[in-house]
Every structure is written in structure tokens, then in C-alpha cells.
Amino acid sequence: MQRIGVFVCHCGTNIAATVDVKAVAEALSHESGVVISQEYQYMCSEAGQNLIKDAIKEHKLTGVVVCSCSPRMHENTFRKAAASAGLNPYLVEIANIREQCSWIHKEIATATEKAVILGRAAIAKVHLNAPLIAGESPVAKRALVIGGGIAGIQTALDIAEAGFDVDIVEKEPTIGGKMAQIDKTFPTLDCASCILTPKMVDCSQNEKIHIHSYSEVSAVKGFVGNFTVTIKKKARFIDETKCTGCGICTEVCPMKKVPNAFNMGLDNRTAVYIPFAQAVPKVATIDANYCLKLRGGTIKEKVCGKCAEACTAGAINYKQQDEFIEQTYGAIVVATGYNPIKLDKFDEFAYNQCPDVVTSLELERLMNAAGPNGGTLLRPSDKTHPHKIVFVQCVGSRCDDSKGKPYCSKICCMYTAKHAMLIREKYPDTEVYVFYIDVRTPGKNFDEFYRRAVEQYNVHYIKGMVGKVTPKADGKIDVQASDLLSNEQLHIDADLVVLATAIEPDQTARPLATILTTQMDTNDFFTESHPKLRPVESATAGIFLSGVCQGPKDIPETVAQASAAAAKAIGLLVKNSITCNPCVAHSNELMCNGCSACEKVCPYGAITYQDKEFRMPDRTTAIRRVAGVNPAVCQGCGACTVACPSGAMDLNGFSNSQIMAEVDAICK
């Protein structure tokens, strides 16, 4: 016989004002199995918890029902209290009479009636609760960081600092990401490379950090603490262990007309290349799409081969194949970053027609000392100095239509102020116009920075949007725009137009989210577990988020989030084992008919079939194929319980009989 205790909380007046708690306690005391029914001001308080603990001991309770706030709020509190009094914590049920009763109803009579019914349902359920023991699973002491930009680098350095091995998987031949392409950083105007490249070197020299460049994650299996990840190392046709990064191969390569992606296609590189001088790892890569010997997918025997002849280290291997590595990790940090959007749909800005209409990232390269012009700002078309430059803000950001992105890209206002300021500083004879909708500069020293651009550097900020950009025959660009404050339409003969292009998550992010079974929003940004209180954890346990893959961010915010993600990952890695959720599925092998229906619906691959021996009624033994659930992998969604045609599959904590009992109690 069950001995159940019912505890009704007043929650001050939150519940007691609309629910007659005394009547609820009284009504529930007559339910079958209930031996004690009490009410108290605040059940979650120390005194309230003691009330429950004492009752458990005194009345030898076998089940506890607390009628209080949402189980999402205090279920754990009451479970812990029960456990400390010697009752299995999973024998506690909560009836939610605050959020789902007292707060939404006004009439005391009906609210009280409903509270009694909710309490009755919880009592019916607790009658069938079974004591559950949470299992434990070991944690692999190694972390994986996907993406080697500043976010990934910072996360990897912090995790390595704590003494754990970290692998960085980067799809490009070098780590560094977008920050390596940027010239200066706002609001301090220090050189991006000067602060990034030492960190890249730290990564390569730290013996805890292992960089897989030119690699991708191709499969992820397992669960928190025990992910098995397959990494695809793409063939770079260079033996990484032999290559010294001397760069002789790039000098002899005859294929010199490959668009240089690092310089945003503004100049060319050779087919065998090192992306930039400070690349980490400093290893050459052969671009098989352009290499005379490799293009077309086959190795042409008698063609070229000059790099192999020139390489003194013998590092070049035309026969190299893609390689797959399998590794176990305890935690995964996603740091896949961003790209500027494609401007194909914005014909009005003439980006595809005119080489002198550039994106902001292209301008970074044009102004960078290591860029195509060696740091002198020249027009891409005729290599002359531009004297009138127009910046256009919000290109593709804050769009309601299918062309652009609905969000604010956050970084554009600040980098445009930076560009405008740098140009006015270096070329004082240049006129700079910035067309803005709003100038958004929240951040430490950000608004001061923008004001400096206006007041000290005399950058012309005009409120209004550019409607049309028309390249003219004389090489000038006609920019037609409105000035909303003076209420006139302007035409500016510009030499260079810079578009503050919206940013979007990297294209690899969505397939990766599918592999990782993490959530994403409609813009392909990864969704955090809680927008305020758990900003760096994904909803999937053991997977953390770092940098722009979660939402637009500038460098300081990215670094802060990267370190936060590292801290969360370290918090997981220091544990030797983690407690599993005991509310998992289990199969009744005697009832299982081996149909595999459950195996097919399980999103985690937690169900496997095996052959087992069974005693038959006629005393013979038979071998039958039955389902088994791996409790460490199962997350407890219950999809299999419904798919099972023979009723063999059930879910701990939410069993068929428990939910049926709740239904019955509510409908009584």
C-alpha cells in the first residue's frame, strides 16, 4: 500500500489569493493512499522543505506530491529534499497550481476546483512512480573546436590552459579566420594582425592544441562526455610533416591566375599557395581546381611538376587522398563564424557591374599593408587615388524581404566609422560621405569613436539611404541618395563606393547543426540554451557556442564568448563522469517482437537489437531478436514508446500507465 504525502504551497499570496489552499489540502487528503495532507506558506523555503522531510520520516512516505509552482522552477529543490530524507527523488511529483492555475484564473471557486483536479492527477501518477537511479557515464578528457577564427583560437587556448587536449578543425588551409583579413580594429585602431598572429603562434606551439587545417567534421556520434567525431582531412597534396613553408613552390608555379580568396579576389595567387605570410600551420596547399597537373581530377604524368622539382624537402605528393580520422571528445565547441552576404540581388548598388563598388571586407584588404596594393588605397579599376568615397550602411541588413537579412549586423556602424576615419587621417584631401539609417554604437568607447569621426575628422554623415548607384563613362560613379534631414535628393560623383554588407552564418553551419543535432534559428544562427542565462550552451548537452555562429558580434564580444564557452567546456571536462537522466526508455524483452520500429524512430541511435536466449513455456529455449536501450545515449523523448506495436517499450518517469492514470484522474 502506498503512503503518499500531499503538500500544498501558498506561495505567499501568489497561490493563496485565488486558490483556497486549505480546501485543496482537505479535498486531497481523502484520495486513496494519502496519509498526510498539509499546507504551508512557502514550501520551497528551508522550513517548508523541513516539513516535507519530517513527514517523509515520520509517516514513512512512499510518494510525495507538492502542489506549488511549475516543476521547471522547483522540481529539483523538492527532489533534493526528498533524497536527503531518504526517499528516492523520482518519487516526487509536482502539481503546477501557480503558473497553470492561480495566476491565470480569477474566480476562487473554479480555480480551487481545478487545483484539486491537478493535485489528484499528480497523486494518481505518483502511485505508479518507480524509484529511479541515475546512471553515470564517463567523460572523455578532450575537446573539439570547430572553426579556427578568433573565437575558435581563444576557446582552444583557454581549454588548453586548463590542461586538456583540444583539436581545432578549420576548413581553410590556415587558422585565423576573418580577423586575419581585417586591417585595423575599432575603437582603438590597433592592427588586427599584430594582436591575432601571436595567438595563432601560441596555438601552434601549445602541445595541448592540435590543428587540423583544411579539414571538416563529417560525422558525429555519441552524446555529452563521449562524442565520436569523424574528421575529414582534405587532400592538400603536400605532406604537412615535411613542408617547411619556405614558399619556393609558390615562386616556381606557372599557374599564376588564381583569384586570391584571402584578398577577396582583388588580386591573383598561384595554384600552390600559402594563404598569407603568418599562416598557421605554415604549410603550402595545392589547389587541385587550378593546378595544371591535377585539374580535371586525374594526375597528368607529363605535365608541369615544377613544384615537386623545386621542393627540397620532398613534401609534394600528387597522389595524396582525403584522410578520415576518428577521435573521441567530451565536449564540442562550435565556432563556425560568418561571411558577408552575396550581393547578387542588390542590382541598385551596381556591385557586379563596377569594380569600384566594393564591400567593406574588400576595403579592408585594399587598405591593408599586406593587401593587393601594399596598403595604398587605390581604386581597383584604374589604380588611381579616390578623392570622393561614399559609404552605404545597412546593405542587406534589416531587410524585411527575401533579398536580405532581417537582423542588424551589429558591426557595420563601427567599422564604417573606422574606415572613414582611417581614410581621412591618411588622405586628408579625400571627401568621405556616410549614408546611414541609424548609427548604432552601443559599446565601451564606441559612441565617442563615432563622434570623433564626425567632429575631428569631418566625415559627412548623411541620414538617408542610397537609392541607386550608376557607373558613368568617365569612370566616376553617380550615387543617388536622399537626405532626410534637409529633405533633398543628392547626387554625388564618387570615385569609390563601399557597401557595409550584411553578415550571415557560414554555409557550413546548417549541415553541421544537423550532424550535431543542435538547434538553429531561421537565419541559421545557432540557438543558445537560454537567451539570457545560458548564452554559450546549445540545447544539446555538451555542445557549446562561440562567436558569430550564435549571432552577430564584434571582436571583444566574440573573445568574451569564446572564453565563456571554454569555461563551460572545462567545467564539463574536469568531471570524471556525468549523471545521466534516468527518465529513459526501456524495453520489456518478453514482449518485444523484434520488429525494429523503435530503432528507426530513435533520433539518437540509442536502440540496438541483439539475439537473446529465452525459455519457452514448453521448457525449450529459443533465440529471439530483441531491442535494448543504451541508457547513457537515450535522452528520453519517448518516440519509440509510441512506435512500438507490441507495447514493449516504455519510458521511465512518463510511463504509459502513469500518463493514462493522469488522464483518468483529470477526466474523473
Binding site: 541598385e348 545597412c394 534589416r398 531587410c399 524585411d400 524581404d401 533579398k403 536580405g404 539609417i437 541620414k463 538617408g464 539611404m465 542610397v466 537609392g467 541607386k468 543617388q480 541618395a481 536622399s482 537626405d483 532626410l484 529633405n487 535628393q489
Partner: protein, 127 residues
């Protein structure tokens, strides 16, 4: 301020003026901007305020070429040209007379007149 008028303009245009974020791209792109007293972004704002009678009296609404450049380029899909068209319609409705009689149309037709213009005229000038 006539709230019925605002309601009518909003209904006949099908435009949600609250979507406007006041970027001014419509005015930046308008080819007959200099001819207008009020400009496309102002149309939208005036309709939002309900200040429609002023708009109806202004010649600006007849300067709009209905080229739809603003509709095409508006980042928020506000469609200012449709608002202008709705205000024109409101003016015509207020006058309450049919400018066209079906029988008189054949003699008014010009061979060079595009078919679309005739249909538009029907829509505009009949109640």
C-alpha cells in the same frame, strides 16, 4: 484628421505603413523626387499619422510615375507607390463622379495608347 480616410487608404493599398524604418531609400531612388512637394518617405509617414487630406490636396501624388522603383528597393517591403495610388483613388472617390462613360471610350482611344493604360484608366476613373 480623418481616420476613415486613413482606413480607406490602408485598405485599398494593402500596405502596412508601420513596417517603415524611415531609411529613405524610396526617396533616394525616386526619379521624380525634385518635382514633388512631398516625397515618397513623407507619403508613408503622413499616411501613418493620418494626415491624408494634406496629401490629397498636394500635386505631388500626380507627380508619381508609378515606376515602382521604391516598391522594388524598399528593404522593409512597405511599397510606397501603392500608398500614392491609394491616395489618388481616395481623391477620385471623394469627388464621387464617373470620369469615364463606357460608350464614350472608343473615340477617346489613341492607337499608340498601351492596353495597360486603358485598364488602369478604367480602374482609376470608375467608382
Amino acid at each position: 484628421m480623418n481616420s476613415n480616410l486613413k482606413e480607406q487608404v490602408l485598405r485599398s493599398s494593402g500596405v502596412n505603413v508601420l513596417k517603415c524604418m524611415r531609411c529613405g531609400k524610396c526617396s533616394g531612388t525616386c526619379p521624380s523626387y525634385d518635382e514633388m512637394e512631398y516625397h515618397p518617405h513623407q507619403f508613408v509617414y503622413m499616411v501613418e499619422k493620418g494626415d491624408i487630406e494634406t496629401l490629397m490636396k498636394s500635386e505631388s501624388i500626380y507627380k508619381c510615375l508609378t515606376c515602382f522603383a521604391c516598391v522594388d528597393r524598399c528593404p522593409r517591403s512597405v511599397e510606397p507607390a501603392k500608398v500614392v495610388e491609394a491616395v489618388r483613388l481616395a481623391t477620385i472617390r471623394q469627388q464621387g463622379c464617373n470620369h469615364l462613360i463606357a460608350d464614350s471610350i472608343p473615340e477617346m482611344l489613341d492607337e499608340d495608347l498601351p492596353q495597360q493604360a486603358i485598364v488602369t484608366a478604367f480602374r482609376k476613373y470608375t467608382k
